[in-house]
Amino acid sequence: MKVTLNWLKEFVDFSLSATQVADALTMAGLEVEEVYTLERNFSRVVVGKIVKSQKHPDADHLSLCQVDVGGNILPIVCGAPNAYEGLKAPLALDGSVLLNDLKVETRKIRGFESQGMLCSEAELGLSERSEQLMELAADAEVGKELGQYLGEPDSVFDINVTPNRPDCLSVIGIAREIAAMTGSSLKKPELNIAAIPDAIEKYMTVDIQAEERCFRYSGRYLRDITIKPAPFWMALRLHAVGIRSINNVVDVTNYVMMEVGQPLHAFDYRLLEGKKVIVRTAEAGERFTTLDGQEHELDQDSLLICDGVKPVALAGVMGGLNSEVQPDTNTIFLESAYFEPTNIRRTAKRLDLSTESSRRFERGIDPNGTIYAMNRAASLIVDLAGGHVVGDAIDNYPQKVTPVEIDLSVHQSNVWLGVSLKKEQIAEILSSIELSVEQKNGDTLRAIVPTFRPDLTRPIDLVEEIARLYGYDNVEPNVAPRINQLQEANPRVLFRDSVRQTVSGMGFRETCNLSLIHKKFGHEFLPQKAGFVELLNPLSEDLSVFRPNMIISLLTSVAYNRNRQMHDMRLFEIGNVAWKEDGQSVKTEKTQIAGILAGHRQGNAWYGKAKEFDFYDIKGVVEGLLAKIGIEKFEQESAHDVFWDAESSKVIVDGKSCGAFGKITDDVLTLFKIKTNDLFAFYFDFDKLFENRRKEKIYNPVPRFPSVPFDLALLIDVNVSAGSLEKEIWKSGGENLVDVHLFDYYKGEQVEAGKKSVAFSLTFSSKERTLSDDEIENVIDQILAHLSGQFGAQLRDR
């Protein structure tokens, strides 16, 4: 909402500078986003008077003028339609510079010399009106610098009005706030309408058929008016607050809307049929063309203003093309109504048609302000367009809105704010914003809230007003802690942070990626039969679905860095992923942790050649992470999805899959435009790790007796996995086997075809005694017998 300093000064006396006003408004909750002085983009422009004007002999649209600039008469060629004799208009002298660096020089135009240029408001940057010469007052002093003639340029405040303050979408509303802040009072002029006595029913009747959507409909009939451009002062102000000047009548409706906050609409009376206005809801599918030329298809929720035959306005949003004020009309019907806010909002949203009018109605205007606004407009129209108001005002007000009364406990208010204000102070504060305050007995105040403040309905609403006007700065901060509210820590958060520390400690860098992705990156990562969680209103295709797996995010980061010549990296991220299970419209949302290894474990160095990451690097990370959180053992099973079948593994803990790791497939890498195939990744369902973590740490006594190592090299079929061997060793190793470590793995010439050699280092230890060699030998025999039975394993050497 924009408002100018001079406009405000019409309604309240104050001596603050523009900057001071801006600061004060901001500290009262009306955030001034910008305050600036209207620029004057011209120099060497003076008040000129056209003393003679005649048509150019060869060009109809040009006039040859003699312009008095105070002492000198200059020949000027002018193309404006209103360059008539006697007009005072701005003249840019030879050598002047106008808006957009337009330089004015003496030159010949169609054979006649022009020693300057008569200007429109647009050429001077004062408004956007460019069709006509700017018309100056008859008493303007000829020859005077235009800047001097116009006086000090006005200042504009651009205010961010919050949705709870519809009253401040008006100059008067903001002036009221300034009055409250400065201790002065609002000056709201009385209006006297000198109407020609007549029975208004002869000209117009109003029938509200949708009372729940139209609480009040007021109107006035004016005749004998003349449509012409609005005077400069009005065009200037409208321009300053961002509204285009149209003509005197339309400008008045906009001007009064800005001034008092009531949207108004002027109909060309000639175009209304049947001398009546009907307010009704639209029929489903009914079509209507608004005055911007757009045709809309309506539904039964939309409210229409109709004449006796047809719709003429989309209530509260925009007038119709069919009843717009025409340049040649001399009669108008002025509408000033109150429409139900939610309904207007729904319509404006659905049609994507947000207007200055709908913005005000949907926030809630003053239902008891329609008459004042209408009369203000009527008297301005009579001033600017001539003519007369005819008959009484029409005022159809089926849903009367009365002021709200609120009882406030002074004590309660002080407790909420943490202050100790007296009853009188509070009464004074509330009175300053035009609430009438009755001091009831004891602790209670009763405030009667004017209907222009629909946001004040409850005691807490008054407390906010008290705090705001007392000053937030004046409330002393209380830093005393509340011991009774201390809380125990959230274990999931602690776990999450410790996992992040662990993984970053393993050399991974934490990334932070957007959660939204392009579909094409996600397909391969969706669980079987699942679908995407998709946005109804995405910003773009690239950010249209929720990521179903954190590896997508890491691949995005790898691709980004690879494009910037960075090849080797270890990245991880914890974040949320989501998908829709088959046939289910409800989402599944999970937290995942994922890590990725890309490129080389180690680059070329003096101590060794570069080494690419391989499967066992990512497995080592997985093992390390799981061991750190207390998951010592897990089962493996081939994982498919985004990993190569062979080089992949699920991680199964207690029979349940917690995640997977492996080598990323070429198909997936191609999708991300990653050209190498040296990427290995893991991902876990974070909450499965959380459930399976070691919850308590309890000391397990370290053995007091020496442990005995024993190395075992086995010859077995190539197809027997090391993991299954290890599992069986554990099974047959007895209670004193405490560690199994695979230290050698060999396939090749040294062993017979179809076989491989696998060597384990076993450690035995007892809590009770030193183990004897015989005992160890017995266990080893037992293990060997078992392995031989299971896999046909042979001892290679002992």
Binding site: G418, P477, S515, N576
Partner: protein, 342 residues
């Protein structure tokens, strides 16, 4: 007849020179022992030189004696010195270069946004707040309606929302976590909700469709606006130092009343005015306020008995100030050259 003095001196010098040559070629401890016996044993080369003393004139003997003692000491010292250079393996060290680069250890790091988040969390945990978490996909009810933001209300315009359906949205703030917590627990409540949020903002230097928030909530008997100012002040000073001042400006949020925007005095110019604070001396941080009684209505708290405050903050905003990052998008690029700096 006495030998020529000069001849004897040169014999001594040659013996010494030969010794040092041998020593320089000693590669093992055994080599060294051999050399030691060869030169220093009783019949060794140095000892046998002493017999030459008798062959010179009496006047020259002290001179020769002194020279022989010097050589004997030099040989002994050199052998001792060499001995130290052998390690337990018995091998001598060749030239050792400690300036070669060390073997690379991969160094990890935490993301700057998460570091700021961690710091903010720690500060509030230290003040007795419990951390609560929630889903990023929320119901319209928890994200809006229970926060006193009805459907078809202009305050919905304050946040551009990503919709999944009529029922589900990507949460636009972490406030729904407050609603869940209040649904599950009775007062007193003292919690923060850190997390990721979403708004339909086209990415630019200050907007990202994904961003992070920490929001706080405290509900108890007699909680006041002054308490809110206190906790925000304590937070500001923990984060940016004791000199930081806090300013509250009236504002509007549907879920709080009174509502405020809060600013910190500029940490760069100490409130004097600079480019970062646009010469205002203040840095806008975020919003706060007293919980609107209507919100208590949704979670069945008695608004006549309890009151509460809530506050929020944007992690990106704080991180941008703290690390002087001027474009929010950099956080989400994950350029290694950026990540390495934290």
């Amino acid at each position: 007849m006495a030998e020529n003095l000069e001849t004897i001196i040169s014999v001594i010098a040659e013996t010494e020179k030969a010794f040092f040559y041998r020593l320089s070629n000693a590669a093992t401890r055994d080599d060294l022992e051999e050399i030691r016996i060869e030169y220093l044993s009783r019949k060794g080369k140095v000892q046998s030189l002493f017999s030459l003393i008798g062959k010179v004139d009496g006047a020259d003997r002290p001179k020769i004696g002194a020279e022989l003692n010097r050589v004997k000491k030099a040989v002994q010292d050199a052998i001792d010195e060499k001995q130290k250079s052998f390690q337990r393996t018995g091998k001598a060290i060749e030239f050792f270069d400690p300036t070669l680069p060390g073997r690379t250890v991969s160094v990890g790091s935490l993301h700057p946004l998460m570091q700021v988040m961690d710091e903010v969390k720690q500060i509030f945990v230290g003040m007795g707040f419990r951390i609560e978490e929630g889903d990023e996909i929320e119901t319209d009810y928890h994200n809006f309606e229970a926060l006193n933001i009805p459907k078809h209300h202009p305050s919905r315009d304050m946040q551009d929302t990503f919709y999944l359906s009529d029922e589900y949205v990507l949460r636009t703030h972490t406030s729904p976590v407050q609603i869940h917590t209040m649904e599950d627990q009775k007062p007193p409540i003292r919690m923060i909700a850190p997390g990721r949020c979403f708004r339909k903002d086209t990415p630019d230097a200050t907007h990202s469709p994904t961003f992070h928030q920490v929001e706080g909530l405290c509900v108890d008997r007699g909680v006041s606006f002054a308490d809110l100012k206190g906790v925000v002040l304590a937070f500001a000073q923990k984060l940016f130092g004791k000199d930081v001042k806090v300013r509250f400006r009236p504002s509007f949020f549907p879920f709080t009343e009174p509502s405020a925007e809060y600013d910190f005095s500029c940490i760069f110019c100490k409130g004097q005015g600079c480019r970062v604070c646009k010469d205002t001396g203040w840095l806008e941080i975020s919003g706060a306020g007293m919980v609107d009684p209507a919100v208590f209505g949704f979670v069945d708290y008695n608004a006549d008995v309890y009151s509460g405050y809530a506050f929020g903050m944007g992690i990106e905003r704080i991180a941008m100030l703290k690390y002087q990052v001027n474009d929010i998008r950099i956080f989400y690029e994950n350029d290694l050259r950026f990540l390495k700096q934290f």
